[in-house]
């Protein structure tokens, strides 16, 4: 078996983070009372989890949001998955896999004796059925709003309008599937754990008419029943019922190939408002929830609730668009980097233990360099750089979003206020600009209309390509159309490289180049938290938010 080239450091750090949880889990198992329904190690019971929104649909290929992914992770399994609490790729439906010499063919040896929730057998045919389904999407199904991750990872579809990374899938025997690619890609296997590439029952897909799109060209609608009424995967939980807008219920799948789930059922209940989720937990209406606000975490901990922090797998940054003056001036960009008091910012607005960022990806990921140029808080140096820049109009149009709380930016407005105060202290004049996060802010930002802005990124899979490759591999209007051929070339080289050690080096070099060029000021890696009531155990928070509830028990 071959695993991907993720840093060992990461595993160490993340296991340190989870040690206490594992201890908590053991404790929970000990005093978890047996309801006496006989089965060994089956604690039973139900868990109510507070979600921030209703899932869009339970069909991995058709969504890209976290609240759809959470239940989908319980229902569906991919060929591979990540280790608990980490990003390292480990076997799931495939027991092992190997790429060919040229990196163009990946052979997956599949687990045997696995059945889907609807009784269909899992085999190589089923794997290829799924890949061929995605590859043959037509019309609206190709929209990045629908099949975002296929678009990102594989590029085009069968119609050939855009070249695709995917070349074909062949079931060479019952339990061997060979997936061929059009070019070598190091990110391919890491991406395979995402819900978008998890395997669904071909029978259920066909019977549920999963690809049926109705309505008109202007307003398409998913018409199939698969993703709403019968999403059959192979996971430890199967779909039971879904009252749209309020509750989604999953129950234990008794014929699961591995260790069966502990809980009888999980109910995901929708509570959009953050403070409302916390209150629901405090009042005992729910057993746990995600996206815990930093302001609540310690208070909840003090009141006897469990707060589990995920390893930081995100970055928050101030971005510059170099098509707007004075941001084309590197001394101004450096001056801003020196002017911001990151330590004070993090102390005031983030929970304890939050890391200051020095580059556009988290230290847990391979390719992070410990020797990039660091811009310490130094107002005098900032003033010196401003003087040196020769720029006289020191007015900065600085944007922040409203109606949003992101893992890397729980309270954007508070960040904006502190950074603005720092900038005005060294002589800049800040013009406040704001818009609701979705869509106005993101729209303005992605089209180069926000000269200076707050943003960030949460990793989808454990590869630097998903961080700096997304930002800086080509001309990106988010950063004002700058063209820095050196950085672009370095990142192209790193993506195509198949030797893990060489890849790490290339990404480190890229990070050094980016830090010297200051396209933005990364300032934070936050650890998003999940909260549970006392008596819930077995939940292991992971950096990619792809936790399984299979081992979770309630007392």
């Amino acid at each position: 078996m071959r695993t991907t080239s993720l840093s060992r450091r990461f595993a160490v750090i993340s296991s340190a983070v989870v040690v206490s949880l594992v201890l908590a889990a053991c404790g929970g198992d000990d005093d978890g009372d047996d309801d006496g329904d006989g089965a060994e190690g089956t604690a039973g019971g139900s868990l109510v989890f507070g979600a921030s929104a209703d899932p869009i649909i339970l069909d991995g290929a058709l969504f890209s949001d976290g609240e759809s992914a959470r239940p989908a992770y319980q229902i569906f399994e991919g060929l591979v998955t990540t280790e608990e609490g980490g990003t390292e790729i480990v076997p799931a439906l495939a027991e092992s896999w190997e790429p060919s010499e040229d990196g163009l063919e990946w052979t997956f040896h599949l687990r045997e004796g696995v059945t889907f929730h609807d009784g269909t057998d899992f085999n190589a045919e089923a794997v290829c059925f799924n890949f061929e389904r995605w590859y043959n999407f037509e019309g609206v199904m190709q929209s990045p709003a629908v099949s975002y991750y296929w678009n990102t990872v594989f590029g085009g579809f069968a119609d050939g309008a855009v070249p695709s990374l995917y070349a074909g899938c062949e079931a060479t025997d019952e339990s061997t599937a060979v997936i061929s690619l059009t070019r070598p890609s190091s990110a391919f296997i890491a991406a395979m754990q995402m819900p978008s590439f998890r395997i669904a029952s071909p029978t259920a897909l066909e019977e549920g008419d999963a690809d049926a799109v109705g309505g008109t060209e202007e307003s398409p609608a998913f018409e199939g029943t698969f993703g709403y009424e019968n999403p059959a995967g192979t996971g430890p939980f199967r779909f039971e019922s879904w009252e749209r807008g309020s509750n989604l219920t999953l129950v234990r799948y008794d014929d699961y190939w591995g260790e069966p789930a502990q809980l009888d059922e999980i109910i995901f209940t929708v509570i959009p408002d953050g403070p409302a989720r916390r209150q629901a937990l405090e009042a005992g209406d729910i057993d746990g929830y995600d996206l815990v606000d930093p302001a609540d975490a310690e208070a909840l901990e003090g009141a006897g609730f469990q707060i589990m922090r995920r390893p930081a797998f995100n970055v928050g940054y101030v971005g510059f668009q170099q098509n707007h003056p004075p941001f084309e001036n590197i001394n101004i960009r450096k001056a801003i980097a020196h002017a911001i008091n990151k330590e004070n910012l993090i102390q005031t607005n983030y929970p304890e233990g939050t890391e200051i960022a020095t580059q556009f990806m988290p230290p847990e990921l391979f390719g992070w360099a410990d020797d990039v140029t660091v811009y310490d808080y130094d107002p005098e140096e900032a003033q010196r750089l401003i003087a040196e820049s020769g720029v006289t109009d020191l007015t900065l149009e600085f944007w922040y979003p409203t109606d949003v709380s992101r893992p890397y930016m729980p309270n954007p407005q508070a960040n904006w206020e502190l950074i603005t105060a720092d900038l005005e202290a060294v002589g800049f004049t800040v013009v406040p600009m704001t818009a609701p996060w979705n869509p106005d802010y993101l729209d303005a930002q992605s089209t180069g209309n926000t000269p200076m802005f707050l943003l960030g990124w949460t990793g989808d899979f454990g590869d630097p390509d998903n961080f700096i490759g997304t930002f800086f591999q080509t001309v990106n209007p988010q950063f004002g159309n700058f063209e820095n051929p050196e950085i672009f070339a370095k990142l192209d080289e790193a993506e195509a490289e198949t030797d893990p050690d060489r890849r790490t080096e290339l990404y480190q070099e890229a990070n050094r180049l980016i830090a010297d060029f200051v396209p933005g000021v990364p300032y934070v890696h936050n650890q998003p938290a999940v909260a549970f009531r006392e008596g819930v155990s077995g939940y292991v928070p992971g950096p990619l938010n792809n936790e399984s509830f299979a081992a979770v028990t309630v007392d």
Partner: protein, 334 residues
């Protein structure tokens, strides 16, 4: 009476046509489009362009408007660009929730407001009067969301007497044939579910009903005061009729007219409040859904929902006018 109703219904036509045009112009004038809303952080210009092409958003507006009108007449409002589900389906889910909440709030406001207003007027100038008057004045000065948070903080979080939000205990096993949860429980013979739904209704209904309550108390008091000093009531008193008879036969009946008007007007107030109340109490209703749809530039949802809200609103006012006729015979003759 029938002619009156028909005439009012015919008046609805121009209002709705004007409204739909207004809506359409508004939607097209909104900055940003649905494409970026669907993509979030991942909205690259290429992806946005691709979506607009796929969704036919670059057709001329009058073509889109005509299609919308034709479809609206057939009750086909298209599909939500966010959930990719038919708008009608989202309506069937969210409208019962809001109507149930609004009805509960109105029952609370009327049930307490009319007796309180009546007794305040009958004891004009005494402590009950002063208390209810000042209470109702404070009532309209409290922002709905502030009251909602206070109620929730005290009764749900601190005291734990009532749930913090939602329409039903997620663990409750209940069928929902109509979407009106209290009614559903009765229909399916699951009284426990009905009771649970009522328990979930209490706090949001109080928060939402507070302002209508304040208004109803004031109007009832004012109109009872008016009527009490009318000649026929004085005559009745002079004739030595019992107070209760006077109350029933003369005072309340005549005092109810302005109260009914106000109830019609509060329908709009209730809806405005519902946007805020539903946010605080995680109520899966129209207010929250429409507010989110504005953020998401979900054109189909906004067109369909706002039109439907206006229809409902106008119908409520029609019902108010009709009930005038039932209470006051003079109106029937006109």
């Amino acid at each position: 009476m029938l002619r009156f109703v028909v005439r009012r219904l015919l008046q609805l036509g121009p209002i709705l046509l004007g409204l739909s045009l207004l809506l359409f112009v508004w939607l097209r004038a909104l900055p940003g489009g649905p494409a970026a809303a669907l993509l979030g952080e991942r909205a690259t210009p290429e992806a946005v362009a691709r979506i607009e092409e796929l969704y036919g958003l670059n057709e001329p507006w009058y073509v889109q408007y005509w299609k919308f009108l034709v479809n609206a007449v057939r009750l086909d409002f298209g599909n939500s660009s966010r959930t990719n589900r038919p708008v009608v389906e989202e309506m069937l889910r969210t409208f019962p929730a809001t109507i149930e909440l609004g009805t509960a709030a109105l029952i609370f406001a009327i049930g307490i407001g009319i007796p309180l207003g009546y007794f305040a007027a009958r004891r004009y100038g005494r402590w009950l009067d002063n208390l209810s008057v000042s209470g109702s004045l404070i009532g309209v000065a409290v922002p709905v969301f502030f009251l909602a948070y206070i109620l929730k903080y005290v009764f749900a979080v601190r005291l734990g007497w009532l749930p913090t939000g939602g329409r039903q205990d997620p663990r409750m096993d209940a069928e929902h044939p109509t979407g009106f949860y209290v009614l559903d429980g009765i229909i399916t013979g699951n009284l426990e579910a009905s009771l649970d739904a009522i328990v979930h209704l209490i706090l949001p209904a109080i928060a939402l009903g507070a302002i209508p309550l304040a208004i109803i108390v004031r109007i009832t008091r004012a109109s009872v005061l008016d009527v009490v000093h009318e000649d026929y009531v004085r005559t009745a008193e002079a004739k030595g009729l019992y107070e209760r008879t006077i109350t029933r036969r003369h005072v309340l009946r005549n005092a109810l007219l302005p109260v009914v008007t106000v109830i019609g007007l509060t329908a709009g107030l209730l809806f405005s409040g519902a946007i805020l109340t539903e946010t605080v109490f995680a109520w899966d209703g129209v207010g929250r859904f429409v507010y989110e749809a504005i953020g998401n530039r979900d054109y189909a949802v906004l067109q369909g929902f706002i039109l439907m809200i206006a229809i409902l609103y106008v119908l409520v006012n029609l019902a108010v006018d009709v009930s005038y006729g039932l209470i006051d015979p003079r109106v029937r003759v006109q």
